[in-house]
């Protein structure tokens, strides 16, 4: 499905590595199967040629790794960024989380990434090979059944099915053609939940959050969660908690996290992508984004480096609290 070929990315990175223009390359590395891609730092062009991948399973957003990986290097780090990843990139820069000079950002156009779970639900768990076709994938399994043809559009990651932008908002170099900011349907589901009664809404979230195992994957993958020590991990914070023992604790973690990233979350979709329990965490974040748009005017975190989020900015035009309630009543 991807329009830009792996080799285009590979040759770009290999040439810069060999010329000493960058010290290392942050990209996606091959796994055991066709789909289990691992973010990886490549130090030589040989490593790149052996293991670098760019395919329909490169959903992982590499931006957050820049925080730790640039600190370890003297020289520059080349990073590949999909459109959504560039929003996180800008947001991290806005928050001074890494040094811009240490990064060479290569923007890659993206046609949407596949969700392995959705693919397996349609094709079967025992995948032996996945071939890309014009419209999606042809999947063979170990069960001797005939290959299953799967439409790419049916197995997109949630974040890709509701992609907000195919446009890269930050880079040093763009490979291929630039895309556009999209009219996405990303708030439809939020509206559906807003339309519920408060009891229904409470039951909905309780049902979803009760599956949480507090593995922290959502937090640890989140580019907006870059605190050196999270309160939930800090034994001295009084809020440390490793397991949700009550439904209150289940909710507390998520409500606090959602508030903490409000105005900073770029809606990169990583939290929902990695949740082992398929909890639709993006809906919490999108509710905040939608409310910010409604109350303070359109704002997209990460669209512009250095922009001030409405929640941490004061203008004379800001709504008064009572107006918020009035607007909500409408």
């Amino acid at each position: 499905m991807q329009k830009v070929n792996r080799d285009v990315l590979l040759e770009k990175a290999a040439a810069m590595l060999d010329a000493g223009e960058v010290q290392a390359v942050l990209g996606w590395g091959a796994g055991e199967f066709a789909y289990d891609v691992t973010p990886r730092v490549f130090e030589t062009s040989d490593e790149l040629r052996a293991d670098f991948v760019w395919n329909d399973f490169c959903g992982a957003n590499l931006s957050k790794y820049l925080v730790s990986k640039t600190k370890k290097l003297e020289g520059k780090l080349l990073v590949f960024l999909k459109p959504c990843d560039t929003y996180s990139f800008n947001q991290l820069l806005t928050e001074h989380r890494f040094e811009r000079e240490k990064v060479y950002a290569v923007a890659v156009p993206c046609e949407g990434m596949a969700d392995v779970q959705k693919l397996k639900a349609l094709a079967g768990d025992g995948i032996s090979s996945i071939e890309s076709t014009d419209s999606g994938f042809s999947v063979t399994t170990i069960y001797d059944d005939a290959p299953v043809e799967v439409k790419g559009a049916d197995v997109l990651l949630e974040k890709c099915a509701n992609c907000k932008s195919r446009k890269h908002v930050a880079y040093d170099e763009l490979l291929g053609d630039e895309g556009e900011v999209l009219d996405s349907n990303r708030f439809d589901e939020v509206e559906r939940i807003e339309a519920m009664t408060s009891e229904e809404r409470f039951a909905f979230w309780q049902g979803e959050l009760s599956r949480c195992i507090r593995c922290n994957a959502c937090r640890d993958v989140c580019p907006a969660c870059t605190c050196e020590k999270c309160v939930f991990d800090n034994p001295n914070s009084g809020a440390e908690n490793k397991a949700p023992t009550t439904s209150f604790e289940e909710q507390m973690f998520h409500v606090i996290r959602a508030f903490h990233v409000a105005g900073r979350c770029t809606d990169c979709g990583e939290c929902s992508r990695v949740c082992p329990q398929n909890i639709p965490l993006h809906l919490l974040n999108r509710k905040f984004i939608k409310d910010i748009n409604t109350f303070y005017g359109e704002y997209q975190a990460g669209a512009e480096e250095g922009s001030r989020a409405p929640l941490v900015d004061y203008t004379l035009e800001d709504l008064e609290a009572e107006d918020v309630f009035k607007k909500e009543a409408e």
Binding site: G126, C215, R219, A243
Partner: protein, 341 residues
């Protein structure tokens, strides 16, 4: 061996549930499966792996151990545990059944963990053979036969029938209660099924992964390997792998201040976490590389060292499918064992 038509499955569940609570995999309404207490209307979901493993039954994510009540200058200590009732778990895969053996060695060795023992003693396990294993399965590496799952009762399911075979006294007692709903049949009736399963298992992409290079006495060989840095490079330290793993067994014990006393509870911990085994002097593993190494060394080297060569991984593949960055024990084994392609 006993046999029952699938059309009588609900009656069978009903009957089991009459004498002991029955738990089985059912939809979690989010694309996965979760062990659910059976009641009329709860449908058995024949999925391969539940997201959370059945270790939860014996070693729940959190449990209260005791309570301290302050009365003036006295502290009263209350044993707040509840005696477990008898229960039956239906549909446990061969890998997960094996995980109980791994956990038993930890919790039932002296000093015996009476909380765990209490639940374990009250459970009857009905396993289920795997007709359609996943590409992430590698149980065969650990000598597990998915065509002949262990447990108190082993079960096989075809399009129309369920076959049940008792392996233990407890299992035989359970099957005796179900005799009206089942009929006697010959063990050989499941042989074609077993052969089919074993043939599919041979086609698994991870078939043939070797444990030869792991186990007892390998600490020195791997501890200082430079590969740990590369392998752990992308690890988020999230702990998903440990929480979905049926054999991960580490926990933390904590005190919760209730205002008028203290509830002492324990909850799962993860060696991937920064405050794991934090002591007065600080933490013994300060980097993610060290924490990451701990998880895999524990499974592949330390545990076998202390348990007659038994590994503390059963090849269920949960960490393969759930790790956000797709790093897992198979990749570690292949890299360390020099098998990397």
């Amino acid at each position: 061996m006993r046999k029952c038509s699938l059309s009588k499955l609900t009656d069978l569940f009903q009957k089991i549930n009459e004498s002991a609570s029955l738990y089985l995999p059912a939809t979690d309404n989010a694309g996965g499966a979760v062990y659910t207490k059976w009641a009329d209307g709860v449908e058995y979901l024949d999925v391969l792996n539940t997201v959370r493993s059945p270790k939860d039954f014996f070693f729940p994510q959190s449990e209260n151990l005791m309570e301290f009540k302050l009365k003036g200058k006295n502290i009263e200590i209350l044993d707040i545990r509840e005696e477990s009732e008898d229960f039956v778990i239906f549909g446990v895969r061969a890998c997960d059944v094996k995980s109980f053996e791994v956990l038993d060695r930890v919790f039932l060795s002296e000093p015996v963990d009476s909380y765990y023992q209490n639940r374990r003693a009250h459970a009857v396990i009905i396993s289920m053979a795997c007709m359609r294993p996943a590409d992430t399965c590698f149980c065969t590496a650990f000598g597990i036969d998915a065509a002949e799952p262990a447990g108190d009762v082993s079960a096989w399911k075809t399009e129309c029938d369920l076959y049940l075979k008792a392996n233990t006294e407890k299992g035989a007692q359970l099957l005796a209660k179900l005799s009206n709903l089942t009929e006697e049949c010959d063990d050989s009736e499941v042989s074609p099924l077993q052969e089919k399963i074993r043939n599919i298992m041979k086609k698994l992409p991870l078939e043939g992964i070797s444990l030869e290079n792991f186990g007892k006495g390998k600490t020195k060989e791997y501890f200082d390997s430079p590969l740990w840095t590369e392998l752990s490079e992308a690890c988020l330290g999230c702990g998903t792998c440990t929480f979905v793993c049926p054999t991960c067994q580490c926990y933390d014990i904590k005190d919760f201040d209730t205002g008028s006393g203290v509830i002492r509870y324990r909850c799962w911990d993860s060696c991937m976490y920064s405050d794991f085994t934090k002591m007065a002097h600080g933490n013994s593993r300060n980097t993610q590389v060290e924490r990451f190494r701990q998880r895999f060394m524990h499974k592949l080297v330390y545990y076998p060292e202390n348990n007659d060569g038994l590994f503390s991984c059963v090849g269920c593949g949960r960490c393969l499918s759930k790790c956000p960055i797709s790093m897992n024990i198979v990749k570690v084994m292949k890299a360390l064992g020099g098998e990397k392609k």
